[in-house]
Each structure stands twice: as structure tokens, then as C-alpha cells.
């Protein structure tokens, strides 16, 4: 029986927030990435990954460095270690976020599990002055740009819509309407050119735009390609093809590999092993340099795999093929770097212990911060609607806050 609420409990008699969604849509499945494979598995993985001559790969799934005619990469053991560290830390952040969602501390989470190499490779390829336009899953790129994971958590906890400084970090806010950001990135890159930031100078700039395989079907991607080509915009279109758009497999979006789209617009399209952090780093670095020197735009398709559900609200058991998942486990982006570091003697056990310990500390910090994250007050509703506020917004805020106060004062209306 409903009753007029008291200050303490202002919830509607019919429970509202969080009460939605069929039970099954609330449960995903944690992935167990251990990386101990039989030779057969490794070979199977190798075969699967190297499908297509056109795939750029510098580190095989079983940790072998291979060379590529066009893309060479000089990299020191320390750099290798730090790429590995990045991937471990963002994966741990991702798993912690998922756990927090399960415990109701986050309303939702979009896992990056499996896409660490694509994102760290691309993120680390960026120069400080470059600008990134993400979708909603680029937690790894955010990490590279110095955006603290807690700021990402804020969005999924529902306390804000993106709290970091999108200019200072060189990492724009998440964009959820697919793929509006591709045009923003193109416009921003047009601005970089207008500002004369193209050329050999150290100060030259480029833009990188992130979107998924499903996103490629939207008109905005096409218009972004057309505009970028026509204005020679210094923008790298970085498509993470994780093989799925929620429940839609790639064949729902295209007949041919996505990197080939670029052909029709007259700019280069390159396909890279998105589970190979070295190849992704090398190709993205090259592409950004090309853009900075005026040879943009460029399309990169990073072939990777969504190793977890689309989001924590998704139940991929309804559509995903387990065998496919198993096959991709053999191409785990972290494992191949670990094996390489060990086999080539580029890192001591102490290094791995150190990274593991760091990951634990990070997880604890994130969890504690999340739990203590302050919820915005009602005034947040009316905050910054406009740069030049209006009497109507001011009045609405004052009215509502006064009304709101009437509850918290003397036991409220009754």
C-alpha cells in the first residue's frame, strides 16, 4: 500500500532504479585467462590469427617476434615491460570494475577484456599533443592518457557523465551515441590543420578516433571518412573490430574486411593484429606520424575479440559461440608478451611479482574510492546546462531545492 513518503525514505512505492531487466540480463561470466596452453592449442591459435596475408603482426600468440616489411619496431626491454604492465593494470581495473558492478557499486560496466593490446598499443602511440576521441569502451586508452580509472567509474556509477578534463588530458569524453565522435574527431583534426599544426615540427598534431565494428555501419562514419578525405584531416580512424556488436556478428555489418572500406575514399586502410601490442603500437605510431605530416586520414582495423559480455547487462551465452571464445583465448594479448619476456630473458620473476603487487594495490584503491564516491546532490541536475545560464534554469533550481529542503527540514510535508 503506497504512502506519502517521509524525509528518510522518499522512494516511490513501486521500486524504481535498478529494478529493471530480466534476471539473466544481469549476469555475465568472468573469463579465466591463465595462459597455460598445450602446443596444439598454441598452434591452433597461431593458425587462426595469421589468417589473411594482410594482417600486420610483430609478436605471435606464442610470443615470437616476427618482422614485417613495412612496420619495424625498435623497442627496449624496459619499454616492453611497461607495455606489459599497462595491460596487466588495465585488465585488473576492468575485472575490478566488473566485480564492483556485481556488488551493485557500479550500475553498469563495459568490459575491455581481450582488447588490452589494441588500446594500450594505440594509446602509447599517441604524442602528448595528440587528441583522442573515444567511444565508451576505451578504458585502456584513457589509462594511457592519464585519466584515472575512478573518473571512468564515475560514469558507470552514475555520479557524472565524464569528469576528466577532455582538453588537458588529450582524451575527450566518452561518446555513447554510435559513432557521433567520428565527426567530432574529424572536425577537431580540421582545426589542427587550420591552426597550421601539420608538418615536420615537433609541435605537429594528429587526432585519433576510436569506434567499433558495429559502428562502421552508421552514416556518421561515412561522413567522417568523406570529410576527412576531402579536407586532408590529420585523423586516424581506429576501428577495434572485436567481432561483435552486442549480439550481431561481423557479417551483419559487412561482406569484406573493414579496413578495405578506406579504398573507396582514397586513403590507406591497414589491418593489424589487435591482440599484438607491438604491431598495434608500430602501425598506430606510423599512422599518427603520417597524419602529422599531412598525409591523413588513415583507417586502422585492429582485429581483436570481446572476451566478455558486451556489458554487464548482456547475456552472451544467448548468441556467442564458446569454441570461438576458446580459440581467441589462445591469442591472449597479455600472455604472448609475458611468454616473450620470459623466453627472451627480458624480465626477471621479480618484475612480474612487482606488477602483480601493483595491480593488487590499484584494485584496492579503486574499490575504496568507488565506495566512497560522493553522490551528486539535486543541484547537479541544474548545473552547467548553459555556459550563459538562463533565468528559467535558475528559477527551476531554486524552486526545486526549496521544495527538496522542505523534506529534510522539519519532517517534511504531511
Amino acid at each position: 500500500m503506497p504512502s506519502r513518503n517521509r524525509p528518510s525514505s522518499r522512494s516511490s512505492p513501486v521500486p524504481v532504479a535498478g529494478s529493471v531487466g530480466p534476471p539473466d540480463s544481469l549476469v555475465g561470466t568472468a573469463m579465466d585467462i591463465d595462459g597455460s596452453h598445450t602446443p596444439e592449442q598454441v598452434i591452433a591459435g597461431l593458425r587462426a590469427t595469421s589468417e589473411g596475408e594482410d594482417l600486420v603482426q610483430l609478436l605471435t600468440p606464442e610470443g615470437q617476434r616476427v618482422s614485417h616489411p613495412q612496420f619495424e619496431l625498435e623497442i627496449s626491454p624496459v619499454e616492453l615491460q611497461s607495455l606489459y604492465r599497462d595491460m596487466v593494470l588495465v585488465r585488473r581495473t576492468d575485472r575490478e570494475a566488473k566485480a564492483l558492478q556485481r556488488q551493485g557499486e557500479l550500475g553498469l560496466w563495459a568490459p575491455l577484456l581481450g582488447q588490452e593490446a589494441a588500446q594500450i598499443g594505440a594509446g602509447r602511440a599517441m604524442a602528448p599533443q595528440d587528441m583522442a576521441f573515444p567511444s565508451y569502451r576505451e578504458h585502456g586508452v584513457a589509462w594511457c592518457r592519464g585519466v584515472d580509472p575512478t573518473e571512468i567509474f564515475g560514469i558507470f556509477r552514475g555520479v557524472d557523465q565524464g569528469s576528466w578534463d577532455p582538453i588537458g588530458t588529450g582524451f575527450q569524453l566518452y561518446t555513447i551515441v554510435i559513432p557521433n565522435q567520428c565527426l567530432h574527431a574529424t572536425g577537431y583534426a580540421m582545426g589542427q590543420r587550420l591552426d597550421g599544426k601539420i608538418g615536420d615540427a615537433q609541435s605537429a598534431e594528429a587526432t585519433i578516433c576510436f569506434f567499433g565494428d558495429g559502428a562502421t555501419s552508421q552514416g556518421d562514419v561515412h561522413e567522417a571518412f568523406v570529410w576527412a578525405a576531402v579536407y586532408d584531416a590529420p585523423v586516424v580512424f581506429f576501428c577495434q573490430n572485436n567481432q561483435w556488436a552486442i549480439s550481431a556478428s561481423l557479417d551483419r555489418q559487412t561482406r569484406v574486411p573493414l579496413y578495405q572500406r578506406a579504398r573507396g575514399y582514397g586513403f590507406p586502410g591497414i589491418r593489424v593484429d589487435g591482440n599484438d601490442v607491438l604491431a598495434t603500437l608500430a602501425v598506430t605510431r606510423w599512422a599518427l606520424r603520417e597524419c602529422r605530416t599531412g598525409n591523413g586520414p588513415i583507417l586502422i582495423e585492429a582485429c581483436t575479440y570481446r572476451m566478455d559480455a558486451h556489458t554487464t547487462s548482456d547475456d552472451y551465452t544467448r548468441y556467442q559461440v564458446a569454441s570461438e571464445l576458446e580459440e581467441w583465448k589462445l591469442k591472449d594479448p597479455l600472455e604472448r608478451v609475458r611468454v616473450h619476456l620470459v623466453r627472451e630473458g627480458l624480465a626477471e620473476p621479480a618484475f612480474f611479482d612487482g606488477v602483480a603487487a601493483e595491480a593488487d594495490e590499484l584494485a584496492v584503491r579503486l574499490r575504496n574510492y568507488c565506495l566512497s564516491m560522493p553522490a551528486p546532490g539535486p543541484e547537479r541536475i541544474f548545473s552547467k546546462v548553459y555556459a550563459e545560464t538562463t533565468p528559467a534554469v535558475e528559477a527551476a533550481r531554486d524552486d526545486y531545492l526549496a521544495y527538496h529542503a522542505s523534506f529534510t527540514d522539519t519532517g517534511g510535508i504531511s
Binding site: 500500500m1 503506497p2 504512502s3 506519502r4 513518503n5 522518499r10 522512494s11 516511490s12 512505492p13 513501486v14 524504481v16 532504479a17 535498478g18 529494478s19 529493471v20 531487466g21 530480466p22 540480463s25 550500475g107 553498469l108 565508451y136 560514469i155 558507470f156 552514475g158 555520479v159 557524472d160 557523465q161 555513447i176 551515441v177 554510435i178 558495429g214 559502428a215 555501419s217 552508421q218 552514416g219 556518421d220 556488436a245 552486442i246 549480439s247 550481431a248 551483419r252 555489418q253 547487462s313 548482456d314 544467448r318 548468441y319 553522490a375 551528486p376 539535486p378 547537479r380 541536475i381 541544474f382 546546462v385 528559467a392 534554469v393 527551476a396 526545486y400 521544495y403 527538496h404 510535508i413
Partner: protein, 330 residues
């Protein structure tokens, strides 16, 4: 679900699912299309099982693009099909807005009836589910302002079951709003009870103190408020608009002529909205009957806030009761 079978308790989601099923059985020209409507059954499972039972030809996942969904549905309608398009969330209808406003709404008029557009666009709308941005919008007014479209909003499982079938049977394009935070509410469905026609509003509760008009997700909110108001000695007349275009305001005018007071409730921002229209029309038609100005209880004229603020953003029981106090104070 055979007619005559005894009342079965269903959720609003199930009502839609059963209604879609019945419509597909009734007319083989009915198609269901959209993102993830096939194997997954839609992110809210409204189309659950339809692809299995009606095949991949009649129930199919589309590429990711709302203009593509609506635009190809228009072409399929020209071909004689009756597409039912699912828009995954309210905030994602805008890439398809051009095809809806420029084509879907105008082709019957442009062709003077030589082309019909029996297309249904299903849109889960409203907030209250703790979602991220663009998943809690109430875009009804954009469509209700567009001549050539018909717009309806269901608010309970029984209406959901019947209204979706009536919308699909309608030869005009129908924008069909579903109150996503009410998907899991239950009610008994008695197939023996004939449905109200689609384009009629309904008096849910009779009362004398004031009239409260609403639609969609806030119907439940208003009914709860009416229950509380009754305890406090005020009987509210509650009207569920159901049809947002064309509006069926005759029952509202009748009611206000009796109660002399009106409150309009909606989650959408109030500026230039459906509640503006209802307030304007009632103020004109019931000019001599109104004992107090029409009050509106709505979402605020701001973008939809972060989820942690939505309890304050959304009209709730208390804000409705507060408006009742104010309207009765006149």
C-alpha cells in the same frame, strides 16, 4: 495464447512479446527488425523467441544504424510489408529522425494515399533504470509535433498486449512508446475482455477533487499518488492519455468541467511539450470551468542528469501530491 483461456498474469514485456506474436500469426506481412532483435530477443527480450518461431526472414537483426532501419522499413512498406522496427533505446532514435519526419510521416500525404506506411517504430522510453546517458530520454513530443505520424504510449501489460497489435494493424505509421522501467510490472490478462480502440484515452480512476492526466511510465506514479491522496480525503480523477497523436482530450475536458482542476504529469522536459499542449487546450476548452490554473509536474528543462540524480529529476509521488496541494489551494 488461445482466446477463452483463463486470465494469465503477464509482465508488460510479456504482453508486448505475446502481442507481437499474435500480430505475426495474424498477418504474414508483419516483419520484426532492429538491432539484436533476433537471437538475443532484444536487449529487453521483447522479441524473445520470435526469430526461432517465425524464422530469420521475418525476424532479423539489422546492421547498426537507425536511419537504415527506418529507411529500409519504408521501402519494405512500399513493397507491401508491415515492418515493426525496434529502436534499442529512446536516445538512439535521432539518427533515424530524418527518415521518420521527412519520409515515414509524409509519404502517404505526398502520394495522396497511393502509398501507405503501416510501419510501427517501437521505442522504450523514460528513465528510472539507473542507466548511463541517452538511455532514459522521453522524446514523445518531437513525434507528437509531426503531422502524418501517430504516436501512442502503453502503460500496463494489458494495454501493451492489445495496443501493439492495434498499432501493427493500423495503416498509418505509429511511433509506439514502451515504459521501460515498467517492463516487469505484472497484471492479469483476460482475453475475453475486448480492448479499447487504440486512439482513445482512458479514465483509470474517477474522482472529484482534481483531474490528473499522464501517460507511459508515470501512470503508475500517478495512481500511487491518487491512492495516497484518497487516504488524505481527496479523490483524484486519473486519465491515461494512451494516444499522444492524435490526442483524445474529450474525456479530459469532461473531467475538468467536473473537477475544475487539472495537473499534467510527464517525465519529459516541459518546454514546448505534450503537457504544454494539454494545458493549452484545456485552458481554452474549459475556460469557464477551471477553478485553478493547470499545473504541470514534469522532468526539468535540462539534459537528463547522471543516474544518481534521476530520483530527483523524475516526477515522483511526492511531487504529484505537492501539485495536488497547490492546485487545491486555489
Amino acid at each position: 495464447m488461445a482466446a477463452g483461456s483463463e486470465p494469465q498474469t503477464i509482465t508488460l514485456a510479456k504482453g508486448l512479446n505475446q502481442g507481437l506474436r499474435a500480430a505475426m500469426e495474424a498477418d504474414r506481412k508483419v516483419l520484426v527488425m532492429g538491432e539484436d532483435v533476433g537471437r538475443l530477443g532484444g536487449v529487453f527480450r521483447i522479441t524473445d523467441g520470435l526469430q526461432k518461431d517465425f524464422g530469420e526472414q521475418r525476424v532479423f537483426d539489422t546492421p547498426l544504424g537507425e536511419s537504415g532501419i527506418i529507411g529500409t522499413a519504408v521501402g519494405l512498406a512500399v513493397r507491401g510489408y508491415r515492418p515493426v522496427c525496434e529502436i534499442q533505446f529512446d536516445g538512439f532514435v535521432f539518427p533515424g529522425f530524418d527518415q521518420i519526419v521527412s519520409q515515414l510521416a509524409k509519404l502517404h500525404y505526398r502520394s495522396q494515399g497511393k502509398l501507405r506506411m503501416p510501419v510501427v517504430v517501437r521505442i522504450p522510453h523514460g528513465g528510472g533504470i539507473g542507466a548511463v546517458e541517452h538511455h532514459s530520454e522521453s522524446p514523445e513530443s518531437y513525434f507528437a509535433h509531426t503531422p502524418g505520424l501517430k504516436v501512442v504510449a502503453c502503460a500496463n501489460p494489458v494495454d501493451a498486449y492489445w495496443m501493439i497489435q492495434q498499432a501493427i494493424a493500423c495503416d498509418d505509421p505509429v511511433i509506439f512508446f514502451e515504459p521501460k522501467r515498467r517492463y516487469w510490472e505484472k497484471a492479469p490478462l483476460d482475453l475475453a475482455t475486448p480492448p479499447l480502440p487504440l486512439f482513445r484515452s482512458r479514465v483509470l480512476r474517477t474522482g472529484t477533487a482534481a483531474t490528473v492526466v499522464t501517460y507511459g511510465p508515470t501512470v503508475r506514479t500517478v495512481l500511487d499518488a491518487a491512492t495516497v491522496a484518497k487516504q488524505e480525503g481527496h479523490t483524484l480523477e486519473v486519465i491515461d492519455l494512451r494516444t499522444l497523436s492524435p490526442l483524445d482530450l474529450a474525456p479530459v475536458f469532461d473531467s475538468v468541467r467536473r473537477t475544475g482542476r487539472l495537473i499534467c504529469v510527464s517525465e519529459a522536459p516541459s518546454e514546448v511539450s505534450l503537457t504544454s499542449e494539454v494545458a493549452a487546450r484545456v485552458s481554452q476548452e474549459c475556460f469557464y470551468s477551471l477553478a485553478a490554473p493547470v499545473l504541470r509536474v514534469t522532468g526539468f528543462d535540462t539534459p537528463y542528469p547522471p543516474a544518481k540524480c534521476e530520483e530527483d529529476y523524475l516526477p515522483d509521488l511526492d511531487r504529484v501530491l505537492d501539485a495536488v496541494d497547490r492546485v487545491l489551494a486555489y
